[in-house]
């Protein structure tokens, strides 16, 4: 299931790279009905299989990422989007993703970094861009980037190519590039650490917490 930024990233990736079939999404369960999570429209007419550890909307096949039932090289493009943080052993999962990806195929990862603990059903890890590079070792070409504060990105994406080169860069992926530009420029917003606040939010913070902070400082607490 993909949030809008990642959906845009996948759309850009499909325009930039040849993504061979069959296309298999791992973590395809549409857990939030109000989100437009189904990636099938991006791959209309293509062989697309949605897998998840739980049955439900968007899921064609129940699979455990740590031990996939796909054969070696059976998958042309493996998509694992905002899912790996919910896997108790992401290293084993990526080993499996590498095994099932065909020669000439691509493995696409995304995950959050600066993001609170959430369920679906459990939440185990966060990955830095170097973490994704490490998880994708064994692929022949690997590209990874964080979106947001370089010290604490909100989102991290990674792509591995098996027996092929990717030639990817942030500039080649307009959705991610726009998100990074928006974060860098933060027009009309205040950069507070890795967060961006509107003036109204900052004012609300000062009004609601200012008296307590001032009192603490005056009393030396």
């Amino acid at each position: 299931m993909a949030q809008p930024l990642i959906r845009g990233f996948v759309r850009d990736l499909a325009a930039r790279l040849e993504l061979p079939g069959p296309i298999v999404e791992f973590g395809a369960l549409q857990v939030e009905a109000e989100q437009e999570g189904d990636l099938r429209p991006l791959f209309a007419g293509r062989d697309f299989t949605g897998c998840d550890m739980r049955p439900g909307p968007g899921v064609d096949r129940v699979e455990d990422l740590r031990s996939l039932s796909f054969g070696d090289g059976e998958v042309g493009t493996a998509l694992c989007l905002d899912t790996l943080e919910h896997c108790a052993d992401p290293v084993a999962a990526c080993r499996e993703l590498r095994r099932v990806t065909a020669a000439g195929g691509v493995c696409v990862l995304s995950s959050v970094l600066l993001f609170g603990i959430h369920g679906y059903p459990d939440d185990f890890f966060r990955f830095t861009p170097d973490g994704f590079r490490s998880l994708l070792r064994g692929f022949d070409d690997v590209w990874a980037v964080g979106i947001g504060d370089p010290r604490n990105p909100m989102q991290v994406v990674g792509v591995g190519g098996k027996g092929r080169t990717l030639g990817l860069s942030l500039g080649a992926l307009p959705s991610l590039a726009a998100a990074q530009r928006d974060w860098d420029e933060a027009p009309g917003r205040v950069a507070v650490g890795p967060f961006r606040m509107t003036p109204r939010e900052l004012l609300g913070l000062l009004v609601s917490q200012g008296p307590r902070v001032a009192r603490d400082r005056l009393t030396g607490r």
């Binding site: 609170g116 966060r126 604490n152 000062l206 603490d216």
Partner: protein, 175 residues
Amino acid sequence: MLARMFVDDVAAALGLPEPVVRPGPDGALPLGETRPGAIVWTEGLEGCPDPVGAGRALADALAEGGLCLLAAPMLADVRPGGGDLFRFTPSGLGSVLSGLDDVWTGAVGDPAHPRCVFAVGGRGRSLGLTADRLPRLAEAQREHERAAGRFRVGPLRFGAGELARAALRSRWPSR
């Protein structure tokens, strides 16, 4: 600092069976044939390329009745230079110790986005750990919640000067 408090608290609550060893950056243990009584890995777990695999090996190596203590960051700046790979939720740190018989996990900071995460695993023993048996960590959590003299911004804390500087640095829309 938090990791040291955690180890001191666990040592006071449960004792650390000898020998106490600290793994290398990849989780490798410095002992040969000797089974460690306590493994303390409170620095560098975020840079281990296979933390779950390393945790499994530590659980196998631990002596019966032994303890494994882990600490790792969740909310921390990424260190440049290529060796900073993972962040851990309490469940994530628990999964690293899933090969042990009883596992306790805790954290200091915002419950949804803690600064630092801790886990203790026992081999062939139960732990009976609760937050009130770890007083230094409990006090660190109270300090986080009080945020004395500081503004709470999501899971982070900022002084008034830091907020003022942030506002001055920002680009305001031109009218």
